[in-house]
Amino acid sequence: MASNYDYDLIVIGSGPGGYVAAIRAAQLNLKTALIEREHLGGVCLNWGCIPKKALIKSAEVLDTLQHAQDFGLTFDNLQVDYGAAVDRSLQIVNRQTKGVGFLMRKNNIDVIEGHARFTDAHTVQVGAGPLNPDGEPRGVTAASFVVATGARAKDLPGVEADGERILQYRHAIRLDEVPESLLVVGAGPIGMELSHIYATYGAQVTIVEMLDQALPLEDTDVAQEVERAFQKRGIKVLTSSRTEGFDIGERSVTVTVKNLNDGSDQKIEVEKALLAIGISPNTEDVGLDAAGAARNQEGYLEIDEYMRTSRKNIYAIGDCTGKMPLAHVASAQAIVAAEHAAGHAAAPIPAGRYIFMPRCTFCVPQVASLGMTEAQAEKAGYPVNVGKFPFMPNGSAQAQGVRGGFVKIIADQRYGEILGAHIVGPNATELLPELSLAQMMELTPTEIAHNVHAHPTLAEVVMEAAHGVEGQPIHM
């Protein structure tokens, strides 16, 4: 159908944003190409969600084995091989990225290897990339584009992530040995998850966070629960603290950490330090100015509710838009962008919708949430009802040996609208969809409470929290 252009749609970047956009566009009969400079699947499949989830599973098995006695099993001679866990994670990565390649072929999407740069709003030059270092630059044109170039680890000024003493997530997700000690800068999801993995495998972990709580975007109750659980496992969580300097030695690095409350300094010597202070968008070297797509001060592409940039035939999705750097958000944006580009009726995502998208942190205890924290809801002027129910009394939780965690639901007192839902504890991320569906369909806690939940399951705790919003939990 492409008339004057090589393609109807070109997608730049093959992460969970880009490859999903390409598939949806191809399904809608657009002649589609996908340009990737590195590996199919982007950060999520190669360096992020997928290898991490595999390592978390290994850590979970290890933890269960270490507590086997609690379940009536004893044995000696437990051999722990972290390298084998990493190998397993890479096998899964491999299968997943192959799967993406298969989906591209199945949908007749041309995969072009190389680094793409706009020269004008309808043309990109594809040049050499890590996969084809000798690639001759060539121009490809399209009526529309989806920019899904993602993001990378944010640099900490003055320190270089050399992969040896100072790591970023790309290093930390593929270490072949567990460091004896590790200092993690940043208590966001990535820092907390990697801390959890390495602590389970025996590393002495210290987390340094500038703000006054771990997981700064989460509800304070949730953050406190996680901090307490981490401290109990021997992970030090230093909040309101900032790293002031990194003294890199032969075998170790000494980090100066300032306590922002009292101004005192301490020096912490560790084998390695991991920088997990957030992400920077991959938007510098893409020719966006030549294309006329505007970026904000931090370099994120500005988009409207149909993912259009200021240049209307160019869409942007995923981490390079800075809306919410999560894989499922990128994929949701991808579908809207592709449908809109194909002239299909797309359900827009207005700016206010992102806060209701699920957030997840896969450390132990797991954290899953959506919507406002209690403090945010109050600040927004809502009169709120809060229902909170712990996992502890729940039969399934006890059978699984779980002690902490809770479900917290925040609802508007007047109309019952769910303003926020926060779960910390076992399987939190898998329990959240009931609440996200309820929120989207504008159900109130009453319907969740009336919905019969199978027994014994962890999901009963969600039901109890919903009862709690109305002041009447059953098992309390």
Partner: protein, 427 residues
Amino acid sequence: MPTPVKMPQLGETVFEGTVARWLKQPGETVERQEPLLDITTDKIDTEVPAPAAGVLLKVLAAEGTTVQVGSVIAYIGDQGEEKDIPESYQEAGETLENAKGPEAVSPQPAATAPTDAAPAPRPEGRAFVSPVVARISAEHNIDLADVQGSGHQGRVTKQDLLAFIDARNRQPPAAHLASGAAADEDEILQPLSNMRRMIAEHMSRSVRASPHVVTIFEADMTAVVRHRAARKAALAQKGIGLSFTPYFVAAVAAALRDNPTVNSRWTDAGLMLSQRIHVGVAAAVPDGLVVPVIRDADELNLLGLARAVNDLAERARRGELSPDEVRGGTFTVTNHGTNGSLAGTPIINQPQAAILGVGKISKRAVVNSGAKTDGAPADPLLPSPDDSISIRPMCYLSLAFDHRILDGLAADTFLSDVVNRLQNWAA
């Protein structure tokens, strides 16, 4: 294979179009390049030629439907090729946005609609009402049948309902009743043209969006009238008619350069100051009104402006403007004086900050205040033997401005700048 007919891109900045009229009906044959349908975008009507010869197999966008540029709106092919239309289009209209035509777009009932989530007509009687919406509508005593839903299959969401309540609170009560379309016995229904509908939509939206304030100044046009009289004949020989409009545009463009906030638009993030000055000039056309835009008006001299005004007005009357020529204005001038109006309170052309209304230039008596009495400077407003009356070509200029963007002082500064430029027009 059937050939898809797509909504054409009619200009760099045009992203959607409305199907005004199908000139062929399904089953009829068309030649390649034969007019197939009329579309309207913004304020322009255009014919779309058939991209291929054959039979019009299927119409996917009913009259009145607005779709994005590039959307498939019909298929042309050989007789019997309907089955080769891609499956995702077999269900027709459900996949298109804002199906609001009087005829149902698709012969299929909405229940078989594919994965769309765009506003679709709500199935009568059994729409899902969320508990939150139920509680809010009960409290505000609202019949949900009156509310347009934007959710899946037309579900009324909380946002829809709050927007409805908000709009209702802002509407004067009488307007409620006015929507009834049934004609009384001594009324005749005159159907709305697309242009009428779009003007109506635009005007209502503008009044809702911008708190309008109007300020009125008076300009002594002697210098301009003299200038024009001196050049008119010579220019007419060259085939250029010199009206007063280019003078107003020139004065406005120059004043906009010195008053950049007047050349801006409101966004929640801040004022978007345009770096370029594109002045729209309202022109009456048989069915309504269009506002062709003179781009970079500040870079044209009077002759250039006169040419641009004449050319755009002429082509507007003939309905030959391209969609891009009626977009992108940063300020608008409307010369209602040509109809005899002395002063008007125009409505802002969104998303601009202000609009200048030009009244009729007519000779009026102007009082010149006497300089002084008995040597001592007295209040010039006091009667004085030196007061005199002269007869001058005068003109009322009214500026309607968005009070979110401009305050009275800024608007008056701008308008007095315009007035000064007109009054001091160099010979």
